[in-house]
């Protein structure tokens, strides 16, 4: 049997050219899952039988000469807050345990149409609320690089699945950093596309105006490939940008000659010294590759975290109100309807979800709206204006993805503010609706990986991937 390539593009090419079969590929990845999943707990559900059957179908298509997609036979792990037809979708919450959606998320059907094979549904912080995957109702996911440490979150399962070799690529969702931060902590590539580039139809909403679906991969090119497949207008999502998916893979190898890279001089403090050191090396590497470093200021960035923790919980309080025990999921019976709602929600939601529902309900309440939610929306506009001024001078901006490397279990779980600060560098992009990606760039404390974040203006995926590709090259050279 030929060696199984490590990348999605390599696998699709080898299967399409009949060097290997889709079944050989899927068996190899399922074997890796069998070997390590007990230690890692990346998945809420491994769909091994369906994956093998799907692989056999693709092999049959190839044998019969039927057309196959650009991701033919590529295994992919799907975050368990994305709806999969007839397959349990839990959001890692007891309140949805056992619920099987009657439809596929748009991204899931686009991946299937492209020939990708789902290997399972990955663990997350309940309803994507958290930065360590410790908030899952089904137990935490462990970092494959050091199982005493968290993988980050909320898409910790998807990041760990790629880092552990359970799949070459996976999908996550990013509301305040939930793709980029776990990518950084697990040493893989993670992309949050422009708000509206990828359809949210079938993504169980956390904060609708911030949520965006994106890929994890081991290479920048694979991340670009998956983004191409899932992006593009979808009539089922009103906030979907009405234009076709951009071509992005070619950008990855274009280099950065002549590009202007922004360095934020008033970046909020708090990053570990090793993280700052890697960031400085990244600037140096890009300069060496032909880019110019330009200083920019983003003065309102220091308010981003506060604004986020009003806007996101406010929307969440409304989005999660539908989990009432009436139509699907958990129901705890009680004497009357109102008591049934209360008992169901008390039993079904974890502490962090309850905390954010209460925060958000308060922020939207009569008499408090203007002081909290209204003011947060103003901060959101200020941040967008800051970015607009900065992007008049630069093509992309570089920051750390996370202020810290992967931390041990229990380190922050009892201190919400410490946990929230994990997302201080990732949140501003969500508020602005811009794209951003995390690229692994060396290691920090305890030998754990550091991620560098590339920020770009709306629909600036192409320049973002150019810089991401250059950083990947530089990191590969220095490792």
């Amino acid at each position: 049997m030929a060696t199984i390539p490590k990348t999605a593009s390599g696998i699709a090419a080898a299967i399409t050219s009949k060097q290997i079969t889709a079944r050989e590929v899927i068996d190899s990845y399922l074997a890796q899952i069998s070997a390590r999943e007990t230690d890692i707990h990346a998945f809420n559900l491994v769909t091994a039988d369906a994956a093998r059957a799907h692989a056999d179908a693709i092999d049959a298509d190839i044998a019969a000469g039927r057309p196959i997609g650009p991701l033919a036979g590529v295994p992919i792990a799907i975050k368990d807050n994305l709806c999969t037809h007839g397959i349990e979708t839990t959001c890692s919450s007891k309140i949805l345990e056992g619920w099987k959606p009657p439809y596929d998320a748009t991204v899931v059907s686009r991946l299937r149409d492209a020939g990708a094979i789902m290997v399972g549904k990955t663990n997350l912080d309940e309803f994507a609320m958290g930065s360590s995957t410790e908030n899952s109702a089904f137990g935490p996911t462990r970092n494959p690089l050091d199982t005493s440490r968290v993988p980050g979150g909320s898409s910790g399962g998807s990041a760990a699945a790629v880092a552990a070799g359970f799949a070459p690529v996976s999908l996550g969702s990013d509301t305040g950093g939930s793709i980029r931060q776990p990518a950084a902590l697990c040493g893989v590539v993670g992309v949050k596309p422009t708000y509206g580039l990828v359809s949210r139809y079938g993504l169980c909403a956390y904060a609708s105006s911030l949520d965006q679906i994106g890929p994890f991969a081991t290479t920048v090119a694979d991340a670009a490939l998956i983004t191409e497949v899932i992006a593009g207008h979808d009539a089922m999502d009103s906030t979907s940008i009405p234009q076709p998916a951009p071509a992005l893979v070619a950008s990855v190898s274009q280099g950065v000659v002549g590009m202007r890279i922004g360095r934020v001089t008033d970046l909020p403090a708090g990053a570990e010294p090793e993280v700052i050191a890697r960031l400085n090396e990244a600037f140096a590497a890009l300069e060496a590759a032909g880019a110019t470093i330009v200083d920019v200021t983003l003065p309102s960035l220091s308010y981003a975290l506060t604004a986020y923790y009003l806007i996101a919980p406010a929307e969440a309080s409304s989005n999660l109100a539908r989990y009432d025990g009436v139509r699907y999921g958990l129901r705890v019976n009680a004497v009357d309807t109102n008591s049934m709602y209360g008992a169901t929600r008390a039993a079904g939601f974890g502490d962090e979800v309850k905390r954010r529902i209460m925060l958000g309900t308060y922020a939207l309440s009569a008499g408090y709206y203007d002081a909290y939610y209204g003011k947060a929306l103003k901060v959101r506009r200020l941040i967008a204006e800051d970015f607009e001024r900065a992007y008049a001078q630069v093509d992309v901006i570089l920051t750390p993805t996370s202020p810290v490397v992967a931390f041990p279990f229990g380190d922050k779980v009892d201190d919400p503010m410490a946990m929230y600060l994990c997302d201080i560098y990732t949140i501003p992009t969500n508020l602005a609706g811009h794209p951003a990606m995390s690229v692994p760039f060396g290691t920090g404390a305890h030998g754990m990986p550091v991620g560098i974040q590339v920020l770009a203006p709306a629909l600036g995926e192409a320049p973002m991937f150019r810089v991401g590709g250059a950083l990947e090259n530089a990191a590969g050279g220095s490792k």
Partner: protein, 489 residues
């Protein structure tokens, strides 16, 4: 409803309630739009189907489902706005958050501070002008049926059934200004609104089926003083019930105030069988809806071209139709026949009868009297009715005979009026025959004749009745009366 402290609209003396109280009414009317599909999903918008068949992930508020705005609903909402003289403005949607079992998302997508239609008005047939504050788009809820228990409400019931077919059906909520001063005007407003909605094809506007739902905000005060505390009256299921509910509620409030009490702001339930309102919930229990902009939808900004196209394609409205019918028949725009025929949407039919050579006045009266349940397009061909009006106009048939033939036409959905008349043995009686019959009748009842001769017009009934009986209804009542008058003079 705006709490205007001092209104420029003051009831006339005749409109004032006893004791110097003035009634202040504002109406909130919900209408279901006659779209093919729901406001935010592709499921059919259809009344009367098997429960929970017109549903989908969006309707059920399943996790991950997203709303997509129905263009036809926007267009119908704009028609309503234009028909009510509103400004159409760029607008956004809000979420109105509250828990109820038939609310699948636990929020209703509605419009809040920036609705589609604002600042309109409606001129009633009587000439009264009622301001329209706003007419906004929102989605309907599902329908709950509470089984068991005494009240039919959720409290005390054994269990509840929910039909989500109605969930997500597009609604327009039309909010009037508190410009209404009598229950008659309230009824007139709703009747005129219903006629407009039907004419423009926005809704079938059936109060009995719930496709038009009216809530009344009622208060009383002394003119020149601040408006009184208002109560919102719900569960008003017909125009007649609306009038009764407002009259009852005004009486109740005046009684409370006259006996030194005060009105509590609350929502009250109209019980049509008992003829009274009951407290449903007081303001302190009101939900905090935590409105915020719906992040799953983008702002709605209809282009000037779109608005103009909707305006250009709007059919003639009831007010204009009444004017046209008045010109056609010579009847006043406020006459009952004109109002009723336009309300039923039958003015085009009257015009068609006239176009087919019919007599305008008789066409109007026939349609008013004989086509109450026939709808805007009666089954009787306009040409058939035209022939009947001509037969009567030309005195080939008496009014009574014509009425009999009309009933035949209605029953059979048309026919040749002349042939029906012939088959019934109806033929114009020559005047000399009628004169002879009148003389016989006078001879048979000299007492009645004497009274008639003395100027008692009512006494003519006995004589006319005898002639009709003798002629088996073939004599023309008008001719009989004319003969009697000539005998008297």
């Amino acid at each position: 409803m705006t709490q205007d402290p001092l209104s420029s609209i003051i009831a006339t003396d005749e409109q004032m309630l006893e004791g110097g109280w003035e009634l202040i009414v504002g109406l909130e009317v919900h209408v279901e739009l006659a779209t093919k599909t729901k406001l935010f999903s592709g499921s059919p918008n259809r009344f009367g189907d098997e429960p929970n068949t017109n549903i989908d992930p969006v309707t059920l508020g399943l996790p991950g489902a997203l709303p997509v705005l129905n263009k036809q609903a926007v267009e119908l909402a704009m028609r309503i706005g234009i028909a009510l003289n509103c400004d159409i403005q760029p607008c956004i949607f809000h979420r109105k958050n509250y828990f109820y079992p038939d609310m699948p998302k636990a929020y209703q997508i509605s419009q809040y501070d920036i609705p589609l239609n604002i600042d309109g008005f409606l001129v009633l047939p009587s000439g009264t002008r009622v301001g329209v504050e706003r007419a906004h788009l929102e989605e309907d809820t599902g329908k709950s049926t509470h089984v068991g228990g005494a009240t039919g409400r959720i409290h005390g019931s054994d269990y509840s059934l929910i039909d989500f077919n109605r969930a997500g059906v597009p609604l327009v909520e039309i909010v009037s200004r508190p410009d209404i001063r009598t229950s008659e005007h309230a009824k007139e407003y709703v009747a005129e609104l219903r006629a407009i909605l039907e004419v423009i094809g926005a809704s079938d506007a059936k109060m009995e089926e719930g496709s038009m739902r009216v809530d009344a905000n009622v208060s009383v005060h002394k003119p020149g003083t601040l408006f009184g505390t208002r109560c919102e009256i719900k569960n008003v299921n017909s125009i007649r019930a609306l009038g009764r509910a407002i009259d009852y509620e005004a009486r109740r409030q005046i009684d409370v105030l006259d006996s030194g009490g005060s009105i509590r702001q609350e929502t009250r339930h109209w019980d049509d069988a008992e003829g009274r309102t009951h407290t449903l919930r007081v303001k302190e229990d009101a939900d905090d809806y935590r409105y915020f902009p719906e992040p799953d939808l983008v702002p709605l900004a209809p282009s000037a071209e779109w608005v103009q196209a909707v305006r250009d394609n709007l059919p003639m409205l009831p007010a204009a139709r009444r004017t046209a019918l008045s010109v056609l028949t010579g009847y006043d725009t406020q006459s009952e026949a004109v109002i009723v025929v336009v309300e039923r949407g039958q003015h085009d039919y009257v015009q068609a009868v006239v176009d087919a050579g019919g007599d305008a006045v008789r066409a109007l009266i026939y349609v008013q009297q004989g086509f109450a349940d026939a709808g805007p397009v009666p089954a009787v061909p306009a040409a058939d009715l035209a022939k009947l009006t001509v037969l009567e106009r030309d005195a080939k048939l008496s009014a009574t005979q014509a009425k009999t033939v009309l009933a035949e036409l209605v029953e059979h959905g048309g026919g040749d009026a002349a042939a029906i008349a012939a088959a019934k043995g109806f033929e114009a009686m020559d005047t000399s025959t009628v004169e002879a019959m009148v003389d016989e009748a006078i001879a048979a009842d000299p007492g009645a004749w004497a009274k008639y001769m003395a100027g008692d017009e009512k006494a003519s009934g006995a004589i006319v009745g005898r002639v009709m009986k003798a002629s088996q209804g073939k004599a023309d009542g008008k001719i009989v009366t004319a003969i009697m008058q000539s005998r008297r003079s």
